[in-house]
């Protein structure tokens, strides 16, 4: 099932491509930072005990 984009195929695909790339980048960054912070915090809590 492929839609017919006509002469504007590049334009439309480009727009969707850029959007998806940026969104995925944002999501990936968010998840990575979140995971990293969670790991560092758990590490710290293990070292210090729950309340230092």
């Amino acid at each position: 099932m492929m839609v017919e984009l006509g002469k504007y195929a590049g334009t439309v695909l480009g727009a969707y491509g850029v959007t998806i790339a940026l969104l995925l980048g944002l999501v990936w960054m968010t998840l990575r930072q979140g995971a990293k912070m969670r790991r560092r915090l758990e590490e710290q809590e293990r070292r210090m005990g729950r309340n230092g």
């Binding site: 099932m1 984009l5 006509g6 334009t11 959007t19 968010t30 979140g34 915090l41 710290q44 210090m48």
Partner: protein, 242 residues
């Protein structure tokens, strides 16, 4: 039970961890449905051809870029008045999402502009306002990055957000005065003349909802990260003292 309870970090962490799976699921669902519907199952416009499909990402991202700043303004005010840390951390967490939305609106607009207006960029008021919005986001994020002490940074960025909002509105009027543009008016307005056809409007509503939900998901995730960072800072400080 008041809304301010969620400004307590612990309460926020609990509530958000309960809500996140639902919001995430819903966001993915609406976004995917809306995009698939818009991309595959809408006809070409008689003037714009298939480029009309860009509207399904362009308009929601443009809308979210503005709404995100509005949300930051409200949370900054809450911080300045009631000094709830979570509030300002939510603003900090939202800024990178806002700048991404701004970039998406700018890029998709630029790509759209190439066939429609024959140029990537024109100094149209709508476009120009977005460029200015981009600069505001950039300054806001840079200020957060530049200040070491988190509470100092929170105060300064909140003041900047406040003053910036006033100037952003002022810029909008200035830019309108400076140049009447090429850009479309609001197509989802109630004014029948301007209204886009229903076959475009329905998937557009869906992707707009999807972008809102995606925004909420990301803000929750990022705020949780910021709270963890603050807790880590507090713990590390305590360790160093000991």
């Amino acid at each position: 039970m008041s809304i301010w309870e969620y400004a307590n970090p612990k309460k926020f962490m609990q509530t958000s961890s309960w809500a996140l799976p639902w919001v995430t699921g819903l966001a993915v669902l609406t976004l995917l449905t809306g995009l698939v519907w818009g991309f595959f199952f809408t006809p070409d416009d008689f003037r714009q051809g298939s480029t009309v499909k860009i509207i399904f990402i362009h308009v929601p991202s443009a809308m979210m870029a503005i709404n995100c700043w509005a949300m930051m303004l409200v949370t900054s005010l809450v911080w300045l008045i009631r000094r709830h840390h979570v509030s300002v951390l939510a603003a900090k967490a939202a800024a990178p999402i806002g700048i991404t939305m701004t970039l998406i609106a700018l890029f998709t607009g630029a790509i759209w502009g190439q066939p429609m207006w024959g140029t990537w960029w024109a100094w149209d008021p709508r476009l120009t306002s977005f460029l200015i919005l981009f600069l505001f986001y950039l300054g806001y994020i840079a200020l957060w990055e530049a200040v070491d002490d988190p509470d100092t940074a929170a105060d300064l960025t909140s003041v900047l957000c406040l003053v910036g909002s006033v100037f952003a509105l002022l810029s909008r009027y200035a830019v309108l005065f400076w140049n009447q543009g090429l850009h479309q008016g609001a197509s989802l307005s109630l004014d029948k003349e301007e209204h886009v056809a229903d076959q475009f409007a329905h998937p557009l509503w869906l992707t707009m909802a999807g972008f809102v939900l995606l925004f909420v998901t990301l803000v929750l995730l990022r705020t949780r990260t910021e709270i963890r960072a603050r807790r880590l800072r507090a713990l590390e400080a305590r360790e160093r003292m000991a």
